[in-house]
């Protein structure tokens, strides 16, 4: 049986949602009605526009509460494949796993690509000291980690990965405005494919606005969003290498 869930304000299935948005119209009674009609147009009912204010002569800001009847089947919701690894294995367990199953060090190359200068995210995953009480990949006994830093062109990343015989590429993308990250990530995969090397590396993308879904769509093996840690990625990479080996 479907397990339908709807938003909860103060009673089960009341469907209450808070919204805020700007409209490119002047503030005033007509603007408020436009806001109400907009919310109704998005399929909500019982819309109350509880606040409106002029942002400028031509723009106005609205806060609204409304109800929805449209629930979803909770069973259709999927935990992000990559984040299923969440807390799956600890650093020691992963080292042990690699030793036991692969019997050799895993080589991982990471970088924040394109013009993106945000190093903190990739550092959080790779640097010795790690992040939020999770050590980074450099500390793993069975991982050889190379962190190329930020502003790294895709070509250089691939070149370097070839040089050190990498098993996996970790790519961080933080700036997403105008979908610049999509371009950067797509380019990497296309370059690899053009060289016939896509199969050679496990490719992982990460960043606060990157989800597993998006990453997979763009041709990566997985994507890791905010709140992910080195052991999530390490576990994923290790298992993926193993399963790739089996597939062959």
């Amino acid at each position: 049986m479907a397990h339908i869930v709807r938003p909860y304000g103060d009673t089960l299935d009341d469907g209450k949602v808070q919204l805020s948005f700007t409209l490119p119209v002047p503030d005033g009674p007509k603007g408020r009605d436009a806001a109400r009609l907009s919310v109704l147009g998005w399929g909500f009912r019982d819309c109350e526009v509880v606040h409106s204010a002029a942002i400028s002569d031509d723009f106005s800001f609205y806060v609204a509460y409304a109800s929805t009847d449209r629930g979803i089947d909770f069973d259709s919701a999927k935990a992000d494949a990559a984040s299923e690894a969440e807390a799956a294995m600890s650093m020691d367990e992963i080292d042990e796993y690699i030793r036991a199953v692969l019997g050799r060090k895993v080589v991982i190359v990471g970088a924040c690509t394109g013009f993106d200068a945000h190093t903190v995210g990739i550092d959080a995953i790779m640097n010795m000291k790690g992040y939020n009480h999770h050590y980074g990949l450099e500390r793993y006994k069975m991982i050889e980690a190379h962190n190329l830093g930020a502003q790294v062109p895709n070509e250089r990343l691939i070149e370097y990965a070839e040089k050190v015989g990498a098993d996996a590429l970790l790519v961080s993308q933080v700036v997403t405005q105008k979908d610049v990250h999509i371009g950067n990530l797509t380019e990497l995969i296309e370059l690899l494919e053009a060289k016939g090397e896509r199969g050679r590396f496990v490719c992982v993308a990460g960043g606060p606005r990157i989800g597993n879904k998006l990453a997979v769509e763009l041709g990566f093996d997985a994507g890791f969003g905010r709140g992910s840690y080195a052991n999530d990625v390490a576990a994923f990479v290790a298992k993926k290498i193993e399963s790739k080996a089996k597939d062959r």
Binding site: G9, T11, L12, K16, V50, H51, Y65
Partner: protein, 522 residues
Amino acid sequence: MRKKLGLSEEKIARGRELASAIVAPIMEFVRGYTTVTVERATLRIAGADGADADGVPVPNKIVDSLRSSDSGLGDGALLRYADAAERSALPPEALNARIAEGFDLASRPVADAAAARRKAEELVAAGLERISRNKRRREEKLREFAGRNNDPLLYLIVATGNIHEDVKQAQAAALKGADVVAVIRTTAQSLLDYVPYGATTEGFGGTYATQENFRIMRAALDEVAEREKRYIRLTNYASGLCMPEIAAMGALERLDMMLNDSMYGILFRDINMYRTFVDQRFSRMINAYAGITINTGEDNYLTTSDAFENADTVLASQFLNERFAYEAGLPARLMGLGHAYEMDPSIKDGFLFELAQAQMAREIFPEHPLKYMPPTKFMSGDVFQGLVMDSMFNFASKATGQGIHLLGMLTEAIHTPFMMDRFIGLESAKYVMNSMSSFAEEIEFREGGIVRSRAAEVLDQAVSFLEDIEKRGLLDSIAAGLFAEVKRAKDGGKGLDGLVKKGPAYWNPVEAELERALGIGG
């Protein structure tokens, strides 16, 4: 608590003196009267409970039939109930059931007065022992979980109308850090001259205060308390036409706090003033005996009158509420005197005026766990701005060492809180208060600055205001609209017909025992 305002101790003493002088004639009057709900509360402590098929509670059936009988209520109701218990040899539950089915106490005069008295004393002792047990249990748990509550206590309301839905929301709130959960009553329960019976699932803007609802919520909060190792206080409203009864029910079910004000019902619910003064005393004696903290309602003044202009009426009312509370045997540590952060947000330095008011209350009432209410009046549909106002309030509260902190809701102007509204309120308050935790110890207010001057000015005004009231008398002052800009006629308002002059044979062992235990002469 370090004093920082340099307030005149003399002025403060003068305020207290005036409050005593104002309250004395009221107490004089009060001691000569009982009310229908004082009698019902007495009966409840002795074991009267339940309701008939139409929902009329047993205590009401007893009191109503006595009132309309020849004997009237002048002798009190308890002796008749005890006589019936004695004669029938039934335990209270069975006797209650018989009364619910139609058995009329008034139909028979008391058989053996001495035996009835003994029975009454026995029943009362059992009720009071249950209350004492509750008090001991609370104290034990507070000791066991000492140091686990927030300071100030974070207080949240639930108000779904359905006690079972309330339970979910209350447990969620408690899990996330609330120290106090108040179940808001349904709109207008204040005006019912009876307390509904049983678990209820239909209310408007709140949930009926019933003894069963108290019990259900108490159990739910105790469950979270054990899990979190943090005692969760439960609050309701001993207010309106049934102040003493609700106090009794709360005492029997281990509530920890009660909204309970000496004048709120008069001013904001148009309840008759004589009735209210009699009821408030009895209700407060019960609260005092049960170790229940009262929360007074000064915040309500600021919803109808301006917080900057009328700050002095809040302080004056605090002096009066304190005096009335002492008269009922409440120690300072159970007096959650109320005030509120209701300054117009557009006032320059409004935050400093609020700091002055809160710090002043803190210094004048140093042992009282002041109850500080969030912005409500100037909250609007702009939930973002509202959240920021609440944050300034959270800051002011922690900065001045308030005791009981009602969490503001960003949706205050829109609806009774959604579950997420409460969550946002809690999380943001915890962040602010932790982030400026030692602020109160850190800072001094400059001599001659805005904060000190404002506090001194409000104290001055409050003392003049009390002087004026003393001259006119409290009843006439209320009639003249001196409080909250509301005028109430002395013999107007609801519930006057429930006021009863005590007869020469009036007998109430609950009252006597409470007076004795609390050390307040009858």
